[in-house]
Every structure is written in C-alpha cells, then in structure tokens.
Chain length 407, copies 2
C-alpha cells in the first residue's frame, strides 16, 4: 500500500466548514492509501497569539513564544482528528513532542535533526490516519521549538522523507504552479510538472506557492512533492526529481517580484575591500541583499548597485550615507519603484539564445532594462515597476507558454 | 526559604492587563519566597474551544478533546512567563507533560497518580519562578489528559503536596471565605480561618470558592490552603488543618444552594429493594442525587423523597413515571421551587442544641421546613425558594455571625 503525507495550511483550516472539506479529502485518500496529515494553525490564530505576547512583553521571550505559538497547531490536530472520526475514519493526533520531531535549540527557527517514525508507523499499521502538528518540534531538553515561517511545509517534507512516503502533497488555495500569475496573464497555464530547481527559482522570485526551505529539503531527500488545491479537484503540479524531457519547453515560467528596491553608490574609488565596506554594514543589520552588480568605469572609480526588499529601502539608504562619505563616493542613488522579472527553465541549460530572445521581446515593447542577473536556469531583469504587467505578458507570449501542452 | 504554590484562575488571566496584575503579585512573593505558579486558561477560551469541537464532531472524541482543551493553559503559562520576564523576574513555563504530572488514562477527568518534582526543583534552585499549566497531565503512553472541572485547583494542591510547599494559595475574584453570601447578608464577614471539613461542606453547599475535590486533596495531604483575591490586597482565608479552638464560634457559616429540586414518590409499598428500584435508574442516567429521605406510613406504604439539581428535574420526573407505575406507587410529586439552607461548623460536634436553635429561628420567621438532613458538622433544611434570603439572614443573625471576631 502506498503512503502519502498531506499538508494543509491555515486557509484550509480556517473554520469548522473548511476543516470538514479537509477531512473529506483525507477520508477519500485513506480508502486506498496510508495517510499522514500535517496541519498548520487555523488562519488568524497565530496573529492573535503574537498580539497577546506583544501586549505582555515588549520583546517576547523566544522560548515562551514557542510554547505559545505551538498551541495553534495543537488546536488544529485535535479538530481535524475529531472531524475524521465523525466521518468514521480512525485518526489520532500527534504533537511534535509526541512523534518525536527532534530539533536544535534555536527557538523560533529551529532546524529538524531527526524524526522518530515508530509511533506514527504503529498508528498507520492500526489503520489510523496520523494527524501531526506542523511547525513544531522538541529539543533535547524537552523544550518546545518552532520551525519558523513555512515550518509546516518543512514538517511535512521531513516526515515524508523519514517515513519514505511515496508522495508529499501540499494543499493550498491555488490548484498548482502556473507559468506565471494568472491575475496578470489570463492565458497562464497550470504546469503538470516542474523540476525542483525551477520550483526553487520560482519560489525565490515571488511565486509563493511553497517556501524555499521545504523545496530545498524535498530536493535533498528526493521526496516527490505535489501542490494541489483544498477547494478545487485536480491533479495539481508535481515537483519532480527528473529533468523535463528534451522536447519540453525551454522555459517553464515567468516569475516576478514586486517588492524590490535598487540602490547605487556612484563614483566609488575602485580598490579592494569596497564591496565588503558597503555590504558588510548592510548584512550586520540583517538586511537581505538580492542582486549585486559592480561596473568599473574609465576614471578609476566604480558604480556599485544592489537590490533589497522595498521595506528595507529607507533603512539601507540611511545606513549608506555615512559609508559613502567615508569611501569618498560621488553620491548614493536609490529607486524603490522597480520590479524584477525572470524567465525560469531547466531547458535554458542546453539552449543558447534565451537571453537574446528575452531582451528583444522587452525592447520591442520599449521596456528599458536597468539591471540583469543570470543563473544556470534563470535570467532576471530589473525594470521600472510601471512595465511589470507588460513585461510579464510579452515574455509569456514570446516563449509560447500559453500554447504548450502541459506534459 | 519558604516555598509557596500560587494558583490563578481564568478571571485572573482574562487579558494582558489582569495577567500583569498576576505577574505583579508573583513578583512580590518571589522576593522572599520560592514560588511555583499554576494557571488556568484565559476566561472564555475553553468555551470557544468546546464550541469548535462541537462544530466538527457531534460527540467530540475524548482523547482529542484533551489535546484541544489543554492548549488553553499552555497559552496562559507562556503569557505569564513573558509578563514575569518583562518585570525582570526569571521564569520558565512547564506543561503537564514536561513536569511530568502522571495521571490515569481517563480523558476529561483524569486522576493524578504522581508528580515528578525534580525539574521544578531545579528551576527553583536556579532562582526561577516555575509557571505550571494547571488542569493537565500525561498518561503512561504520553497522551495528554485533563483533570476535569476545577482541575487547576487540584493541580496546585497536588504540586504543593509533592513539593512539600509551605502553603498553597488559591487566588480568585473573592477575597476569602465568608460567613455567608454578602449579596444576601450585607453583614457577612470574611473568616480568617476555616477547617477543611467546614470548607468541604461550604463548597458542597454552593459556596463555590473552591472545588470539593481540591479541598479533599489538600486535607488528605495536609497542605495548608489559603483563598485570596487577585484584585484586592488582604490576608484571605486560611483553610487550616487544626480544628478551631473551643472558644470559637459554634457555627462558621451559612451556606445555601439555590439549584435544587425535590421529588417525592408517594404511597410506595414498603418492601426491600424499593430504594434501589428508584435510585438505581436515576444513577444509571448519571443524575446526581443530593438529600434522600424515606418515611414509613401506617398503611404499609412509604413516601420516598430526594433532591436533584434543578437542571435534572424534568428528566428525573420523566424517568420516574414508569417506575412509579411498576412499583404500584400512589403518585409522583415534584417541586423545583425549593432551596437548601445549611448551618456549618465543627463547633456543633461538641454542642447540642444547634438544631433546635436553627428550627426556632426559622419558625419565628414563619418559614416552613420541608426536609431536614444532618451530618456531623452541618444541618441542612429544604425550604420554599421564596424564603431563601429571609432564612439566610435569620440564621446569620441567630448564630451571631455578624458580631464574632474572626479569629
């Protein structure tokens, strides 16, 4: 008998009604398969708890925050187990500490070290559905830990790996991974399959179907992942271990990220240590830097450009003013009205010409490219935010994503 | 250094503001004593969770109900620990499963079997306040159990016994045990001390300051209990191991119970097995019977009277109709407009005449006594509910409770 792990997020666990829908899906799967279910907290609950914590302590204690937040998933496993039992399906709930999901001691963003599978396998062998609290684990002293944002996806993938499950199914409110955002390009298509590498690039570029960490984890442990909708029937998108076949698309999708800002320090004397002098301070403040470009000019000075999240823009600009003075740079120029648009596909590995096709398509639409960055399976450009929709639609059409058969 | 256990209920944990008041009390106590705090769920939270459970399963699974409800206390321990830390008090939260509070496997009303004190003693020796989740434990298989209503009081007393604490302080929204309900008798006084036996009778008679089970538990393990208010300074009432001294009051208080109903089966043939035939069926339905009186008449028949909670009145009447027919009784008569009023005091053991003083006082006010029941330290009468306030005030005055010095 095959064994699957199904993960349902907060919007699927919104209220008794949607919990009923989840129970129906689990009950249907359980007729032919062994099923382990991983659930998140009911949507909204985590925010309520965080508000309470902030009301009693300015910077809530991290250990106690984990004790507090882990109740969210505990409520979910109890309710889903009840909903399953009310449908005649034998089910049993498990906390992270009951399974045991061993983690390190980093409260708030713990890493899973190992998972004991005996107690879950025993429940499965008794014909039960095992309903496991996502997002939580236990450290070696018995303290409750949580895995940080997207932690329930990570729990599901880790359990699937530990149990050697045949598939890990992530249920969300979208029915799969699309060639691009259907709200921008109505002709966007659901992909039947996508590779882990492509999925990683899509996720990192704002296609927030899955958290990067869980995709990395699934890739590392070779757990087949499938993204499906709780609310709509369909096969979803399989995130596959194999590369797509040669006759497949060069490009799988067009991803974009609206929340970028760009900062340029112009006329920096071109000498060793400049990049560190600039980015070291930024990193010290825990500001994440995305793209980095440095161009050397003819006059012995260089222009240094990088992008950050739009929320970090002002803080980064403030941080750089004294550094620019210190480095005797000409000036600091910022622009928080930019977006990043990328084409992603493992096919580009073996095909030249993707970049030129991309730049021609943008140029034909009169879109000025401000920055370019490439990886093995991705080409990203930064453009003014007013061109976002135009660029996405032009590239989607240029690479024929609206016409290809899905598989 | 003395060690105290402090227990705070749901109304004390109502919101961040009252949690702050609790933290202030604990912080003050911790300056001179080792402190273990036991807390209940925030008021209202348990009802919300029960509603959710009822929405997903008609009769919620008992194991999963315990998983669900135990989150309430888990939220409370995390928030109180944060509030203490924000006041510079070192604190650490403990779940029932972390302490470990071992119970039997009866979900929803588990009994405590033993408590491991090492982990709490270690926290205390590190100068920390130990903040323990009330109401919950863990069975031998690692399942979460809950102790049923009033379970947090029981947790506090059991912890105090296991830790050999000097005192167990139960904080509520009243500032002690009174000679009677001040809402009915404005001259009611707070008692400085009361014995366990008296407290048991007061609690069982509707003076709901403490749950009977926790008082029994405290008496059995000789843990000094003190009832105090979270919201008002004062010494509260000490529930003491020693009997009150001889010069003390004969009577400690006037208790009453408004929620009674009386049922009489008249003209039952007087033969063995009749009481069982009647009460066996009632017990089978889990209806609790309070007072029972049987009087044999001259004609070989007997009248059988008992009282039940007013909520169970209709069901009990319906249950008795066929039984009365079967027993060939004359009829069944019910009255749900009655109340029980009692005088309680260990002093009555060594003093005759309490009963006659009581009946005279009621008779002087023209109050008809419908039933009488006595125990070693209590005399109860059933009267029509319209006489409740009059009876309580008359007895409070008659036994001089408004005038005695408290200690």
């Amino acid at each position: 008998m095959t064994l699957i792990v199904q993960k349902f997020g907060g919007t699927s666990m919104a209220d008794p009604e949607t919990i009923g829908l989840v129970a129906d899906r689990v009950a249907a799967a359980q007729k032919t398969q062994q099923v382990v279910v991983v659930v998140s907290a009911m949507s909204g609950q985590t925010n309520q708890l965080v508000e309470l914590a902030n009301a009693v302590q300015e910077t809530p204690d991290r250990r106690e925050m984990d004790v507090l937040l882990s109740t969210g998933e505990q409520v979910s496993i109890a309710l889903l187990s009840m909903a399953l039992k009310s449908r005649g399906v034998e089910a049993q709930s498990f906390l992270g500490s009951q399974v045991r999901i061993h983690t390190d001691e980093t409260h708030g963003k713990a890493r899973i070290k190992s998972i004991d599978v005996e107690i879950i396998e025993s429940a499965l062998n008794q014909g039960k559905v095992a309903v496991v609290a996502g997002f939580q684990g236990v450290d070696q002293s018995g303290n409750i830990t949580t895995l940080g944002r997207g932690g329930s996806d990570t729990s599901a993938v880790a359990l699937a790996a530990a149990l050697k499950a045949d598939e890990c199914q992530i249920y969300t409110d979208v029915d799969g991974v699309y060639t691009t955002d259907p709200r921008i390009e109505p002709d966007a298509r659901r992909l039947e399959k996508i590779t882990f590498e492509e999925m990683l690039e899509m996720a990192s570029l704002g296609a927030k179907v899955l958290r990067i960490r869980s995709v990395e984890f699934a890739g590392k442990y070779q757990v087949p992942l499938r993204v499906l909708s709780t609310f709509k029937d369909g096969p979803g998108t399989l995130i596959t271990l194999e590369e797509q076949k040669m006759e497949q698309a060069l490009i799988s999708g067009i991803a974009f990220n609206k929340d970028e800002a760009k900062i340029t320090i112009r006329g920096v004397p071109d000498r060793p240590g400049v990049a560190y002098a600039i980015l070291g301070k930024v990193a010290d403040e825990n500001i994440e830097v995305d793209m980095i470009i440095q161009n050397t000019g003819a006059d012995g000075t260089t222009d240094f450009t990088f992008t950050v999240h739009r929320n970090d823009f002002k803080q980064t600009m403030d941080l750089l003013a004294p550094i620019a003075t210190e480095l005797k740079a000409r000036d600091v120029h910022g622009d928080d009205r930019i977006v990043k648009v990328s084409v992603v596909g493992v096919g580009m590995r073996s095909h030249a010409g993707i970049a030129s096709t991309m730049f021609k398509a943008l140029s034909d639409e009169g879109i000025n490219v401000e920055m370019i960055s490439t990886s093995e399976i991705k080409i990203s450009v930064v453009v003014n935010e007013k061109y976002l929709e135009l660029a996405v639609r032009a590239l989607h059409r240029e690479f024929g994503l609206d016409q290809q058969k899905a598989d």
